[in-house]
């Protein structure tokens, strides 16, 4: 039996508690096992991003607990949370968010630098990932010199550089054309298979949903369905 890597237990998030309360999440239970490739789907405002942020320790739930790899992150101090993210969680954001002044290889190696990984090992891992995402010829290009799809692949490579246990991707294909989106999903699926990294990504793109092996649907801040599927 696979190990539970993410355990979001009884999560509720209420914004504007004092004025007009907005219930972004209500009593959400989600258990994700190591190596899963999960799509978090639902209409806009359903709470996908909020849940991802809770699981990544970027936001705290109003109620409930989040346990990542047996660590209850809702109780961690800010610096410990940053450390946890640095070593265990890779993030991919909707709008690429690479460091504009660094080249592709520097962006990918940035997290490794934060982890004080020796230069030789760093270079090796960066080259490995560049090959994986098929952007070896763009390693010295800055984000401004890459297409949206290429930037997002670099962002995925950055998220994977430190071999995190989990990658959380918030609508990673939202700003990509269908070919780039497809290519990105294939890259993510390949890395999930080969490196056994748990992927949890939010989306409402049906073509992307098809690639997931498990689909959790959120509606109005509640889990509406949680189904396994065969990716196509």
């Amino acid at each position: 039996m696979a190990k539970t890597i993410i355990d979001a237990h009884n999560i509720s998030k209420i914004y504007n508690k004092k004025m007009v309360p907005v219930k972004a999440l209500q009593d959400v239970h989600v258990h994700i096992e190591a190596g899963e490739f999960v799509a978090l789907v639902g209409p806009s405002g359903s709470g996908k991003s909020t849940l991802l942020n809770m699981m990544g320790g970027l936001d705290k739930p109003t109620l409930g607990t989040v346990i990542i790899d047996n660590i209850e992150i809702t109780k961690l101090s800010e610096n410990k949370l940053i450390d946890l993210r640095l070593h265990n969680i890779g993030f991919v954001f909707q709008s690429f968010n690479l460091i504009p002044v660094l080249t592709s290889k520097e962006n990918i190696g940035f997290v490794l630098q934060l982890q004080n990984v020796p230069k030789k090992k760093r270079r090796q891992r960066v080259m490995e990932l560049l090959k994986e995402i098929g952007l070896e010829d763009k390693m010295d290009n800055k984000p401004g010199e890459l297409s949206g799809g290429q930037q997002q692949r670099v962002a995925v490579a950055r998220a994977l550089a430190s071999k995190p246990k989990i990658v959380l991707a918030d609508e990673p294909t939202a700003n990509l054309d269908s070919i780039s989106a497809n290519k990105l999903m294939e890259t993510m699926a390949k890395l999930n298979r080969e490196e056994n990294i748990t992927f949890l990504f939010s989306t409402h793109d049906p073509r992307v949903i098809k690639k997931a092996r498990r689909v959790i649907t959120l509606v109005d801040g509640r889990v509406d369905s949680d189904e396994e599927q065969i990716p196509t």
Binding site: G56, L58, N79, D83, F91, N97, V101, E106, L114, A159
Partner: protein, 406 residues
């Protein structure tokens, strides 16, 4: 890597960085030049006053300064001389006998200050012979000749070779009188001295005042005026307190010290305002650099960058912009200072008179003291660190998710 990121970040908006660095450049340039001129003028004023009259330190007979009379002189003591010369920092000691007298030529008479000096010793430290504008400087301590200030020569209509009659009160109420040939006319930095000074060989002075082998003071010349207080405290215990007193030029001429203090305060206020202005400029740039990158900061924190490290990078950015301005400012100021040290600015006309009325030589001197460059650069760097505190605090309070969604 982080240095590289900071460096590349500041060039994201080249124009803004250049404008900010330029404002730092001008502030540093102006601050250094202002301080250099101020200190240069003071240094020159002190050098003039000290070299041509008091010396940096003076040893007197105890009580002389309270009652500056020829009767309060002391006998030349080779042991005392030796003692003073042994002190580190002392480059020369000069025996002097100083008193007032009436000097006359034809139908004109003037109160003057007679300064009995050892011409050879004076030459070694004061270069008095280089200040001679007519004739020559004294050569030995016995010759029957005097060198007078140019103002006095003009007032008494004296020329080289004319005889100056001097009349005064000598040691123990004896009468002091003599007739001396004008050997040279000297132009000194201090207008006061120019109008009143009569340099006379010390042996002649002692003979005229009937004070054989006696001195009013031993003037001590130092390598640097900065050693003043330290040397005085070292010398004091080595002198017989019942017999001698030792005074610095600041104690002997407090009005000059006070003038420098007051004038300096005014200049410091102006420099303070200058730095306040550039602080706002630099702060504005830092604020813009912070607020326009809040989302990026949120992402960096999300992927595992510690807030402290992020704050440090912002600090580096602030310091780098300041350093560019400082570096160019120091180079620019050094070139200007070097130029004006070689070719000082001489005032003419009314401005010259104004300066002379205040007893200041009408020349703008620039101080080459490296401390000025270091101090002004350090102030700007300190400001840039202080100003970077606000963005640093902003980052420490930053909530990554709010920043990412901003």
């Amino acid at each position: 890597m982080f240095l590289k990121i900071a460096w590349l970040n500041i060039w994201r908006n080249k124009r803004r960085t250049l404008i900010t660095a330029t404002s730092v450049f001008f502030a540093v340039l102006l601050a250094i030049l202002t301080r250099s001129v101020t200190i240069g003028v003071y240094e020159n004023m002190i050098r003039n006053m000290v070299s041509y009259s008091s010396g940096y330190l003076q040893v007197h007979q105890k009580g002389y300064w309270e009652e500056q009379s020829i009767d309060n002189t002391f006998e030349l003591d080779p042991e005392l001389n030796q003692n003073l010369l042994q002190q580190p920092g002392v480059i020369q000691i000069m025996p002097r006998l100083e008193s007032f007298a009436l000097a006359s030529f034809k139908d004109r008479t003037k109160g003057v200050m007679i300064l009995g000096v050892d011409p050879q010793k004076e030459k070694t430290v004061n270069n008095l012979h280089e200040k001679i504008i007519e004739g020559r400087f004294l050569e030995n301590e016995k010759e029957n000749a005097v060198v007078i200030g140019e103002g006095m020569a003009s007032y008494l209509h004296l020329n080289i070779g004319d005889s100056l009659v001097v009349l005064g009160q000598g040691y123990h109420a004896s009468s002091a009188a003599g007739k001396y040939s004008i050997k040279g006319v000297i132009s000194l930095g201090s207008p006061d001295l120019n109008d009143n000074i009569v340099y006379m060989p010390i042996k002649q002075t002692q003979a005229m005042y009937g004070a054989e082998n006696r001195l009013t003071a031993i003037s001590i010349m130092l390598k640097k005026s900065a050693d003043l207080r330290d040397l005085k405290s070292k010398l004091e215990p080595r002198l017989d307190p019942a017999k001698y007193e030792i005074m610095t030029w600041k104690e002997m001429m407090p009005e000059i010290d006070q003038f420098i203090e007051a004038d300096s305060t005014g200049h410091l206020i102006i420099i303070g305002i200058l730095y306040l202005i550039i602080s706002f400029g630099l702060f504005g740039t830092l604020l813009m650099m912070t607020f326009e990158r809040l989302r990026e900061f949120g992402i960096l924190i999300a992927i595992g960058m510690k807030k402290q490290l992020l704050g440090f990078i912002l600090l580096l950015e602030s310091v780098m912009i300041s350093l560019i301005g400082c570096f160019l400012g120091v180079i620019g100021a050094s070139l200007v200072i070097r130029w004006f040290t070689k070719y000082p600015i001489y005032f003419t006309g009314e401005l010259k008179e104004v300066y002379q009325n205040y007893g200041i030589e009408p020349i703008i001197f620039f101080s080459e003291d490296h401390q000025i460059l270091i101090t002004q650069t350090a102030i700007v760097m300190f400001l840039s660190v202080i100003l970077a505190l606000y963005p640093g605090i902003k980052i420490m309070r930053l909530k990554p998710i709010e920043a990412i969604n901003s």
